[in-house]
Symmetry: C2
Subunit: 87 residues, 2 copies
């Protein structure tokens, strides 16, 4: 299972686009704060596997390629734990 | 541009999985409430184009295939307008 505290320690590169609070500053980047943990892990796995194309996948596939399954679980737990909407 | 009121009128099929308030009851389905409008439109276009695979794409590709560009814009405007976290 994912460890949100471990995820936080791995989240700096994510936060540069998706926001420190998981709410993106850029309209084309999705908010992650309060998103479903299972969905976040599924999305990262699909990027890592090269299955998820279109959209901003040219940015996300190389990021996800660097992540282990544990990294993915930890990051999903962390961003899911943040309050939706950044409040 | 998307019309949130028109999007609401087209959202019943979405709400059956993603929740009436845009917060899913099912952990693998992402919340849509308060998500970035541009991101939601981009995601639906990637499903419609068959670019977005993996995850729950087997469910979403046939749904998106039925949507016009205006439908996509309207639905993105509607779900983006809902309060994040369903509050």
């Amino acid at each position: 299972a994912g460890d949100a505290a471990a995820g936080k320690s791995k989240s700096a590169v994510c936060a540069s686009c998706h926001g420190q609070n998981g709410v993106s500053q850029v309209p084309i980047y999705p908010n992650l704060a309060g998103q479903k943990e299972q969905y976040l892990a599924s999305a990262l796995k699909a990027y890592k596997a090269g299955e998820r194309n279109g959209g901003q996948s040219a940015l996300m596939k190389p990021q996800a390629a660097n992540l282990s399954d544990q990294d993915i679980a930890d990051l999903a737990a962390y961003f899911s734990s943040l309050p939706a909407g950044g409040k």
